[in-house]
Symmetry: C2
Subunit: 148 residues, 2 copies
DNA sequence: ATGACTGCAAAGCCTTTGCACGCAA
DNA sequence: TTGCGTGCAAAGGCTTTGCAGTCAT
């Protein structure tokens, strides 16, 4: 994941927000920039900790609000990273994305991608009377470390 | 999904619980029998409503405790059916299972299954240094009704 | 008799909402 | 100036836990 890709997403996100009629507020922009620095799912509380450490002066509520708006606009994908905890990941304009294997013992997330898996999902989606916008695949089990 | 399949799961579940050292308590058995009647994901609160209507005399806490024990024993698969809401589905001993398309407008769940998708997931799992036990695929978008 | 099991109520935890103030447009 | 955007604190909603009584073994 290159720096250019991250910047591209941030620019794309800010432009989309503006086009949707959102004002260029301070908190939301800070959240977008923070998301641009992560390549795998982050939770709202992760961002809250991070921004607090950076003394960004962004309230927790604003983080949740920004995440929801970004998700609605198709800029973020929301996945469950732990029981009742949501994680958010950038949706790249070019469609590039990965899925996750999550360790049920330590919670570690291992990202993976596979073209034939994507093709299989596309084929299934195409056969259904359903307007598919996103999809997610989660493999659960034990990671290398915990299985030992 | 045949009645035989449901009964088979219930028997298998009760036997597994007993083998794991659990006592044949009343509440847990009622939860197992309730789960046997559902072919797609049900939430803890759904079960609570259902059992209350049937005057089963099972407390909400016992439902949550039973669901967690059954999940730990590999008898149930836990999936997220709405923001922060968990749904549970039987894991059939023969491995038969389906996945879900979930409408982001009305929340409807449309089950689907696809052999080539399963093969693709198995191939990916096999290549990873990860002890894969379960997997889930979720397609999100708009259902036929809401897309219109 | 012993310790698991259960129901009730209270507590937890992530997330959302109400409200008054501040700031973009 | 208008009303969207924000931070803080309080409220919500699902889930988990503490506890004392009950029941399986």
């Amino acid at each position: 994941m290159s720096t250019a890709t991250r910047t591209r997403w941030a620019d794309h996100a800010l432009a989309t927000l503006q086009a949707a009629g959102y004002r260029r507020g301070g908190a939301r922009t800070v959240v977008v920039e923070a998301l641009a620095r992560h390549d795998c799912a982050v939770t709202a509380l992760d961002l809250d900790d991070e921004l607090r450490r950076r003394k960004a002066g962004v309230g927790r509520a604003s983080i949740y609000r920004a995440l929801e708006q970004l998700e609605q606009l198709g800029l973020l994908r929301r996945i469950e990273v732990a029981r009742g905890v949501a994680g958010y990941e950038r949706i790249e304009p070019d469609g590039e994305h990965h899925h996750h294997a999550i360790c049920r013992d330590c919670g570690r997330m291992i990202p993976f991608e596979d073209a034939s898996l994507e093709r299989a999902i596309d084929r299934v989606s195409g056969r259904m009377s359903f307007d598919a916008a996103e999809h997610e695949v989660t493999i659960r089990g034990r990671c290398e470390r915990c299985a030992a």
